[in-house]
Symmetry: C2
Subunit: 344 residues, 2 copies
DNA sequence: TTGTAAGCGTTATCAT
DNA sequence: ATGATAACGCTTACAA
């Protein structure tokens, strides 16, 4: 058994409550007593028991992290470790710990969240994704449990504190960038259609086309899951178009997918950027590693995580803070996968 | 405030202790009462409070995860998400939750571990790395706190349950593979020398050379941190050797590093596998994505994590289980970066 | 400024 | 088979 507050109290000849107050640095305890108690704590090697404290306080100083149902895919993506680093840093600065909800599918994860929340294991929750219909979000909302979302909520945008990029704008910027290079046939390869980020980026892409009076073609729009193979399938589809209708540039929703695209093009003998330009999203390590290095929209993943932690904790410390929408800036990082088209 | 065991007790007209026994499915409670109590729990939407339970039980059902001090680098590596998936699955199957120790440097992480452990936040700990001198390991060992290590402990191998590959054998197999292809000048590009895995793999490499009576050259051994740029520097060094002394094959300790190597070779106009073969480790997504796809030693990262969870939990459930050394199999996955040398 | 005691929601021991 | 009650280690009125 460990050293408890009582042991310290005895050792320092004070009451347990006094020790507790010293820990909390309560100003109404005399400096002499504080000194004495702190001495005793050192001497005995005392460490406060978080569990007991949590029970008394009704607060654990732990944040629950929720990944999307398809965690295996999500984990593969370099997005995850980076956002986790941000979350971790934000949490650590405020002495919060991070706990992962585990589970194989959405059902298991949902149950995990319910247990965490009702079981009082966590003070708040961060959703690392945003999708169209989400039981977990609904649940948290109904219970009025503190949570922050990374991404833009599909519903209740005004009621849910979230940290996000302006993905519509980012996709518009990306598309504009290609248009300004002179491209007119631009394809959009997006991710899972149930993710809000996909929807938003598609909107931005469309807006850019409209504004530039370029035609919008259904068969230029492809949706694949956020993974390598997705990129490969997509390319094959596009390359079945008649030569003169094939896109000269691609907006790809994810670096990993873009890498799949790149490899497939490579195998088909189509070269980047000479024959086709690629502009992707996320700017993870992958984009630098690719040959040619990919131009990519840097969405500042670390900051996404960092701010999510910060704002959730702020809310936990002061439940009065209003709902916030935090937008993290994005930036196009030009590398070597985007050039002007060799005209028609 | 939430529904407690007392509310359920009242609603079902029994004592709180009875409710508790129903939760534990204690056989000495009549089926009728169980039925009645369960009904009440459903009716009221009761969920047990983990914190209170933890306090009473002196056990949290939470496992602490410790990453190496240089977490930022570690997080970047695809190793991390994969091992996490394995850990998560093993934990989930046994209803354990995972909590991350956060911190920027080794000092902070050490303090985090101490707090976690002494604060009673976790029942056991998994170290996701193994390094040469490790305060954290020493601390856990001295306190006799349950933990499992992924990797091979530098000291006390017989006393510490760990899950590992046979890295020496794996590196020997890798080197042998190249030797059998006909290579005689083989370089080893390893990672951080403070990591035990690096040491082990180097040993395996040396053994292979010795057994094949190939000379061991200091200048063929390079150590870089486990990252992309590391690979680049390493290549430059090797390519400064006189033409006829340059290695024809490379054993690279990590896929990510191998990718750096590959790109640099590419830029130098050296082609793989024609001019130089590359065999790397880990077989993460990266190795498939590379061009040419990299031959790699699959070390079964997922299983590493899965078994670590399993064995720690086994130990937690039954403190009597003896120390174990669990070896996860490895396998060379041949792709296109390894060929026989164009013999000079 | 400090001590006493109740309470946080469980579990477990001892009665009955 | 079930109920009372103490205990887990801490916090926080309320007293002194």
């Amino acid at each position: 058994m460990s050293i408890t507050i009582k042991d310290v109290a005895k050792y320092a000849n004070v009451a347990p409550s006094t020790v507790s107050r010293v820990i909390a640095n309560n100003p109404r305890i005399s400096d002499r007593t504080k000194e004495k108690v702190r001495e005793a704590m050192k001497e005995l090697g005392y460490h406060p028991n978080f569990i007991a404290r949590s029970l008394a306080n009704q607060s654990t100083q732990v944040i629950g992290l929720v990944t999307p149902g398809s965690s295996d895919v999500f984990f593969q993506n370099p997005f995850f470790p980076t956002v986790l680093r941000g979350l971790s840093e934000g949490a650590h600065e405020n002495q919060y710990a991070l706990q992962l909800v585990t589970g194989q599918n959405e059902e298991e994860i949902y149950n995990g969240v319910v247990q965490m929340v009702q079981g009082g294991r966590v003070d708040g929750v961060i959703l690392l994704y945003s999708k169209v219909e989400d039981r977990i979000l609904m649940y948290l909302r109904e219970r009025n449990f503190p949570f922050v979302m990374i991404g833009k909520p599909f519903n209740f945008v005004e009621e849910i504190t979230h940290v996000d990029n302006d993905n519509a704008q980012a996709a518009k910027d990306a598309t504009d960038f290609l248009i300004e290079l002179g491209h007119e046939r631009i394809s959009f390869i997006g991710g899972d259609e149930n993710l809000v980020v996909t929807v938003e980026r598609l909107t931005g892409y469309e807006n850019a086309l409209t504004q530039a009076s370029l035609p919008y073609r259904e068969d230029y729009i492809l949706h694949q899951s956020f993974l390598l193979e997705g990129g490969q399938d997509a390319v094959c589809e596009l390359m079945e178009l008649p030569l003169m209708e094939r896109p000269t540039a691609l907006v790809v929703a994810d670096d990993l997918m873009a890498l799949g695209v790149l490899n497939t093009l490579n195998e088909l003998g189509i070269s980047v950027p000479e024959d086709i330009s690629i502009l992707s999203f996320n700017n993870v390590l992958t984009s630098e590693m690719a040959r040619p290095p990919l131009s990519s929209v840097d969405i500042n993943i670390f900051n996404l995580g960092y701010n999510a932690s910060k704002h959730l904790i702020e809310r936990l410390k002061n439940p009065e803070v209003p709902v916030k929408r935090v937008i993290i800036e994005h930036e196009i990082v030009k590398r070597f996968s985007t050039e002007a088209p060799v005209h028609k």
